[in-house]
C-alpha cells in the first residue's frame, strides 16, 4: 500500500470511530433519565423562560424582538458550556477504552463535541419555530449562520482539547470551569444588549469570541444585516488560532493520557 492509501485508510477508520462514538455517546447521555433526550432540549428553554420573564416584566430591557434575541444567545451559550463541560471529562469517562486499545485519542474529543453540536441543531429547530411566531422571516443573510456554526464548533472543540488534556492532571478542574462559565455568561451580551455596556469596554467584551458569534448571529437573523468583512475575518482568524492552539496543547499531552488515567 502506498503512503497515501494508508493515510486515507487511516482517516476513514478515524471517521468510523467518531461516528460510532457519537452514537454510543448519545445512548449513554440520555438513557436512564425519564425524559431522555427531551430533557436536554428543555433545559436551555427553561433558562430562557425564566430570564425572559424577569427581563420583560420585572426589569424590562429595551430590545426589539427580545424573545428571539434572548433565545438565540441562550442556545449558543448553552452549546459552549455543555460541549466543554461534558467534553473535558471524555478521557475519564472512556478510560476503559483508552487504557486498553490504541486509537486516535482526538476522536474522543471530536465525538463528544459533535454530540453537543447535534443538541444545538435540534435546539435551533425550536428557535426557528419562535422566529416564525415572532413573524421574523430570515433572509438569505441567514446562510451565514452555517459559517458561524462551523466556527462555534471549532472554538468549542479547541477549548475542549485544552480542558480535557488538563483534566487528566487536575481532576477538580470541572468545578473551576463551571465557575468561569458562570462569569462568562454574565460578561457576554446574552441577556442584555451590548449598548448598555459603556463604549470604552466594548473592545474588552468582544475579545470573547462568543460575544461576537452571538451578536453576529443576531445581526443575520434578526437585524437582516451582515457583519462587515473585516469583522468576519477577525472572527475567522480568532477561531483558527483557538482551535490550533487547543489542538497543539492536546498533542503535547496525548501520549500521557493512558498513563495518567
Amino acid at each position: 500500500m502506498s503512503y497515501n492509501t494508508l493515510k486515507r485508510e487511516h482517516l476513514a477508520h478515524s471517521i468510523r470511530i467518531i461516528k460510532e462514538l457519537v452514537i454510543s455517546d448519545f445512548k449513554l447521555r440520555y438513557q436512564g433519565s425519564y425524559l431522555g433526550y427531551f430533557w436536554t432540549l428543555i433545559k436551555p428553554l427553561l433558562l430562557f423562560g425564566v430570564i425572559y420573564t424577569v427581563f420583560t416584566f420585572f426589569m424590562p430591557v429595551a430590545v426589539e424582538n427580545y424573545a428571539i434575541y434572548l433565545l438565540l444567545g441562550v442556545l449558543i451559550w448553552n452549546f459552549f458550556s455543555e460541549s466543554t463541560l461534558i467534553g473535558m471529562n471524555t478521557f475519564l469517562s472512556k478510560r476503559d477504552l483508552v487504557t486498553k486499545i490504541y486509537f486516535s485519542r482526538a476522536a474522543l474529543v471530536y465525538a463528544s463535541t459533535i454530540s453537543s453540536l447535534i443538541t444545538l441543531l435540534l435546539n435551533l429547530v425550536i428557535f426557528f419555530f419562535f422566529l416564525a411566531i415572532a413573524g421574523v422571516a430570515p433572509g438569505w443573510e441567514a446562510l451565514f449562520f452555517i459559517l458561524y456554526l462551523a466556527e462555534m464548533y471549532l472554538i468549542a472543540t479547541g477549548i475542549t482539547f485544552v480542558l480535557a488534556s488538563l483534566t487528566i492532571h487536575f481532576r477538580d478542574l470541572q468545578h473551576i470551569w463551571e465557575i468561569l462559565l458562570q462569569i462568562g455568561f454574565w460578561l457576554t451580551p446574552i441577556i442584555y444588549p451590548i449598548t448598555v455596556v459603556p463604549f470604552e469596554y466594548h473592545s474588552l467584551i468582544f475579545l470573547n469570541p462568543w460575544a461576537r458569534i452571538i451578536e453576529y448571529s443576531r445581526d443575520i437573523f434578526i437585524r437582516h444585516h451582515i457583519p462587515s468583512l473585516y469583522l468576519n475575518i477577525i472572527l475567522f482568524i480568532g477561531t483558527v488560532i483557538i482551535f490550533a492552539l487547543g489542538y497543539a496543547i492536546f498533542k503535547t499531552q496525548e501520549n500521557k493520557i493512558a498513563e495518567k488515567l
Partner: protein
C-alpha cells in the same frame, strides 16, 4: 520483509509521586513544597525480536512488566527509552475485555469495539452472528455489559478480537476465566492463527498452555528479560525461580 515486532533497549519508568496530587487545589496549597517521586522501572533495557508466525509466550510473576510490555507494543504507552517498531495491524485484547463501556449493551459494545479494531459497519453486520455465537451470549445481547460475568466478558472480547483480521494479536490472560469448553474453542482459534502465519503474544500463568501452544517464550523478572528460547526450557526456568 521486516520483523513484525522489533524492540530495542526498551525501558519504561513510571514516576510514582509519594503523595497523590491530582487536583488543582492540592497543587496550589502545596505549591512551595517540592514533589518527590519514586521511580518504578516497569521495564529495563529489554531487546527482543519477534518474527512473523511466532507464537510467543510471556511468563513472569505479577508486576514483572508483562502487561506493560504488551501496552507498549500496542502503542497505549510510550517508551521512556528505546524503541518499539511494529510492522502490521495489531489486535490487542488486554486484561480481559478489550475495554467495554459498562453502561452500553453487549450489542452496542460489539459495534463500538469492532469499529475500534478496524472493522466497517458492513463487516460487523456480516460477522455479528459469528461473534455472538462464539461468545455464547445469544440470550444476553441487550443486557448491559456491567451485568456480564468476567467469563462472559472475556468470551465476548475474544470473539470480537478474533474477527479483527489483524497480523499481530496481543493476548493478556485471555484464557484465565473461560470455562474448559471455551478454552477449547480458543485453542482452535489459536491453531488457525498459527496456520495462517499470524504473530501472537500470549501472557499467561498457565505453563501448560505455553508448552503446548508457543513456539518461543520470554521470561520477565522485575522488568528485565532474563531468558528467551524454547517454551519448555523457559517454563522450567520460571518454575525454578518461583521455587526459590
Amino acid at each position: 520483509m521486516n520483523d513484525p515486532i522489533h524492540i530495542q533497549n526498551l525501558s519504561k519508568t513510571f514516576k510514582l509521586p509519594h503523595e497523590r496530587r491530582d487536583t488543582l487545589k492540592e497543587n496550589l496549597l502545596k505549591i512551595a513544597k517540592k514533589r518527590t517521586y519514586e521511580e518504578f522501572h516497569a521495564l529495563k533495557d529489554v531487546s527482543l525480536n519477534i518474527q512473523k508466525g511466532d507464537f510467543v509466550g510471556v511468563v513472569g510473576r505479577n508486576g514483572s512488566g508483562k502487561t506493560t510490555l504488551l501496552k507498549l507494543i500496542a502503542g497505549i504507552y510510550q517508551p521512556s527509552e528505546g524503541t518499539v517498531k511494529v510492522d502490521g495491524k495489531i489486535a490487542p485484547f488486554l486484561e480481559l475485555g478489550i475495554g467495554f463501556q459498562p453502561e452500553l449493551t453487549a450489542r452496542e459494545n460489539i459495534v463500538v469495539n469492532a469499529t475500534l479494531l478496524g472493522l466497517t459497519r458492513a463487516q460487523i453486520k456480516e460477522k455479528f452472528d459469528e461473534i455472538v455465537s462464539f461468545a455464547e451470549i445469544e440470550n444476553f445481547l441487550d443486557l448491559k455489559i456491567k451485568n456480564f460475568s468476567a467469563g462472559m466478558k472475556a468470551r465476548l472480547a475474544f470473539a470480537i478480537a478474533k474477527e479483527a483480521d489483524a497480523d499481530i494479536y496481543l493476548c493478556d490472560e485471555v484464557l484465565a476465566v473461560g470455562d474448559e469448553g471455551f478454552q477449547k474453542k480458543c485453542m482452535t482459534v489459536f491453531e488457525k492463527w498459527k496456520e495462517e502465519g499470524k504473530t501472537i503474544l500470549l501472557v499467561t500463568h498457565n505453563s501448560d498452555q505455553i508448552r503446548d501452544l508457543c513456539t518461543k517464550a520470554f521470561f520477565l523478572q522485575q522488568g528485565q528479560l532474563v531468558a528467551a528460547g524454547a517454551p519448555a526450557e523457559i517454563v522450567e526456568r520460571y518454575h525454578q525461580s518461583l521455587a526459590l
